[in-house]
Symmetry: none
Subunit: 194 residues, 2 copies
Amino acid sequence: MSQPSKTKQAVSSGGAKRKRQPSQVQDHIIAERKRRELLSQLFISLSAIVPGLKKIDKTSVLGEAIKHMKELQEKVKVLESVIAKRTMESVVLVKKSKLMVDEGSSDNNVSSSTTVDDYCRSSNNDDGDSSSDSLPEVEVKILGNSLLLRVYCGQQKDILVKLFAEIDKHHLSITNFSVIPFENLAQDITIVAK
Amino acid sequence: MSQPSKTKQAVSSGGAKRKRQPSQVQDHIIAERKRRELLSQLFISLSAIVPGLKKIDKTSVLGEAIKHMKELQEKVKVLESVIAKRTMESVVLVKKSKLMVDEGSSDNNVSSSTTVDDYCRSSNNDDGDSSSDSLPEVEVKILGNSLLLRVYCGQQKDILVKLFAEIDKHHLSITNFSVIPFENLAQDITIVAK
DNA sequence: ATACACACGTGACGC
DNA sequence: TGCGTCACGTGTGTA
């Protein structure tokens, strides 16, 4: 710690520069020291959360932090898009299931790309059952070129025509069919088509 | 640019300090300058990718960068777990609806079912679960004092009598009954009793 | 010893 | 005016 103590009290002439008093200089030193210490600690904290850090240079830490941050942002973007796509599929599914129930009859020209696995996913809820509000339950099985469709739903009257329309839209012919009422509240529909 | 030119060639005695030659001092200055410039640029780059930055202090930039990086990592973690859960559900679902697709008859009546094949394959060679041994699938729903029993199984002839015996054992009377064959290999039995 | 990295004190600029 | 921030040159330690 050198204290040059250049107490230069300039006169009022040309290139004069006011010198601070020693106490202020000391304050300045202390403040700067504190600032540096804070910065160093931040660097340490940063290097702690950046994974796979070979060098602990400030430059390396900053560079790797930037790189990793960009990767993270890109990753978040991708993951969010994946989730969005997933939920989108789910929504499409629910929509497809709902169109059997609702009389809204929205435009359903999605018959090209939606495959049977979509139907399978449509009955996805939590593993525990117990939530009877998510009717109808739809289940699809495939064996050879036959398709078994089972629908458990409430007692809407128009659900059968919608189901048949949907089946017909996929150019399937029904080979077996059964509808069983359940306590005047629900019904279990089983269809085999090929 | 001051050149003190303190060429102090110390002797080998006590507190001697070797002084560099002027060119080396200059190199040192230049090198340090370059290092600082690089660091500043890194700070700028960092502040560019950290969103919502009010202050552009070095400390603030570092602090916000750390904060944001932690948030990103946590977000990635959550999103990945969500996706894992989603795909898990998907696999469980497909597994639950054990549709068995034989790769031979890919007659495409049932619209393109390639994704179904994929899912089935990926879920079938899972653990050593003998695929068709988990039949029959049994599902029971209870509504009021009625009971809906659905059995999906192979074409055993004795399963019906066993089912009826079981139902009779619980003093239930069958009010509705349906058995639907499925491709000469399986059958879907639906019973309502009360 | 060459090269790099760091912390320090210090002058300067802006609010 | 003072307080906070920055960049600079420099000394020192380490590989």
